[in-house]
């Protein structure tokens, strides 16, 4: 059976550094930090008192009040970016068969605020259960995929992927696979997350995963810097319209890039710590190159997972050097989490978009907040520190890794025919 080609025909983004794809690229290209003191709750007693929140988001600008009340923020974010992407792809009725359009959506946690609020209400009561009927359908992680399908009448494959911070990349890989196998023509894919809550920050603080640089939030996310002290929690969403190539051509769609490979692996090592030698990361990058049938030398840019944790950054770079050898010195590496923070289950979506925009603009967005070299990293590597770099970008690789030891990679290539 011949596999079909799959291209990206629409994008949507709602991020801590921009509320549309255009604004997001502007933030990436200019090295803007999205970190600031937490506004979603009073973090006065928390070890970490800042986050990368979406700015100026007003639900009423996108939904009527009744509709908004029935959706957790992570679903609202999903709906906003799906709408931008569907419009961007010019998916107008009559140009597709609704039964052949799916939604595969990633989120690591789902409706954390809803879960927290309902449990707090119950705990404060007299034991009488007064759970809201919308509690479960607001909280469950798959509900964003459901909402998107209902809004547009997309009746193809529909579900969510959950693999912590790799969730959205798993969604992209699944979408890619279903389309190349001929099981759908178009899939709205991506991910969303809204975990900046007491439970989210408190939980990650307890894991010692978050930066505690409260005196300088905007420089806290500093992947590969000697003084990095953990990730900065982000929120937001990204949507990508994946489409079978001939289907896209037939309806005259604009094509951003081709998705040419997906790779997956597990560390099988520890629930939260990465494998010290980056074994899972190494395997996943080899898997994605094999799936795409390209040589390591063809990769121009790696948008790394690079969360700014002491251990994770080191093991990922070890893996890159093993997989790419001498070519590791010629490609550009950057962690856009230095700007956006870590969007958990949505990270793979907005970083896939960053990789595609790097191809579109022939410009690699930077790893900002580099102050001090860390001797753990080979000085010959180009981490695109502090300023974006113009260069030829034909092929971009995006890595995301999740708690549980899930590793995922996707490869995008400039369409060249």
């Amino acid at each position: 059976m011949e596999l079909k080609r799959v291209v990206v025909t629409g994008l949507g983004a709602l991020t801590p550094i921009g509320n549309t794809v255009a604004e997001y690229w502007n933030g990436l290209s200019n090295g803007v930090s999205g970190a600031a003191p937490t506004t979603r709750f009073d973090a006065g007693k928390f070890k970490t008192q800042f986050a990368c929140e979406v700015k100026g988001y007003v639900p009423e600008n996108y939904f009527d009040r009744k509709e908004a009340r029935k959706m957790d923020l992570f679903s609202q974010f999903a709906m906003v970016v799906a709408d931008e992407a569907v419009k961007d792809a010019n998916l107008v009725e009559g140009t597709y068969s609704p039964d052949r359009v799916g939604v595969i959506w990633g989120s690591g946690i789902g409706g954390l605020r809803t879960f927290q609020e309902e449990c707090v209400n119950f705990a404060h009561g007299d034991g009488t259960p007064r759970f809201n009927p919308f509690f479960i359908p607001k909280m469950i992680v798959d509900i964003s995929a459901g909402h998107i399908s209902i809004k547009y009448g997309f009746r193809g494959p529909n579900f969510s992927t959950v693999s912590a911070c790799a969730s959205a990349t798993n969604a992209l890989i699944d979408s890619f696979n279903y389309i190349r196998l001929g099981m759908a023509d178009v899939i709205v894919s991506g991910g969303s997350e809204a975990a900046v809550t007491e439970a989210g920050i408190g939980g990650f603080n307890a894991l010692k995963a978050l930066s505690e640089r409260n005196d300088s939030p905007e420089t806290a996310s500093r992947p590969f810097d000697k003084d990095r002290d953990g990730f900065v929690l982000g929120e937001g969403a990204g949507a990508l319209i994946l489409e079978e190539y001939e289907h896209a051509k037939k309806r005259g769609a604009k094509i951003y890039a081709e998705i040419i490979g997906g790779g997956m692996s597990a560390d099988a090592y520890h629930i939260t710590a990465p494998h010290p030698e980056g074994l899972g990361a190494l395997n996943v990058m080899q898997n994605v190159l094999r799936d795409a049938n390209i040589k390591p030398e063809e990769v121009d840019y790696i948008n790394v997972h690079g969360t700014s944790t002491p251990l994770g950054d080191v093991s990922e770079v070890k893996a890159i050097q093993t997989v790419f050898g001498e070519h590791a010195y010629k490609l550009n590496i950057s962690s856009t989490k230095s700007m956006t923070g870590h969007l958990l289950g949505a990270a793979g979506a907005i970083e896939a978009i960053a990789s595609i925009l790097a191809i579109q603009h022939q410009e690699v967005p930077p790893t900002i907040n580099h102050f001090t070299d860390d001797e753990s990293f080979d000085p010959g590597l180009n981490f695109t520190f502090n300023k974006s770099q113009k260069r030829e970008v034909k092929v971009a690789l995006s890595n995301t890794f999740g708690f549980g030891g899930h590793n995922t990679s996707v490869l995008f290539r400039q369409l060249n025919d």
């Binding site: 009527d64 009040r65 009744k66 509709e67 009340r69 007064r130 809201n132 009927p133 919308f134 359908p137």
Partner: protein, 78 residues
């Protein structure tokens, strides 16, 4: 309008996102005010909370309009 009727009306406007003028005594939650089955459950729960009553499921099934809600609550509210 009774105090109870005023409160019922306010809850319906808030939860269903409808205009005040639509909330007539005859208005049906599902047929006229756009409520689905989950919205109706939520309304009943809000009435229970606001008026400190417990509405058994078999009686809740008979509360389908604004007027029916008001009369039930006028009878049972503590």
């Amino acid at each position: 309008m009774s105090e109870i009727a005023e409160k019922v009306k306010a809850i319906i406007i808030d939860k269903l996102g409808v205009e005040e003028s639509e909330v007539t005594p005859e208005a049906s939650f599902t047929n006229d005010l756009g409520a689905d089955s989950l919205d109706t459950v939520e309304l009943i729960m809000e009435f229970e909370k606001e008026f400190n009553v417990s509405i058994p499921d078999d009686q809740a099934e008979n509360i389908a309009t604004v007027g029916q809600a008001v009369s039930y609550l006028e009878e049972h509210a503590k």
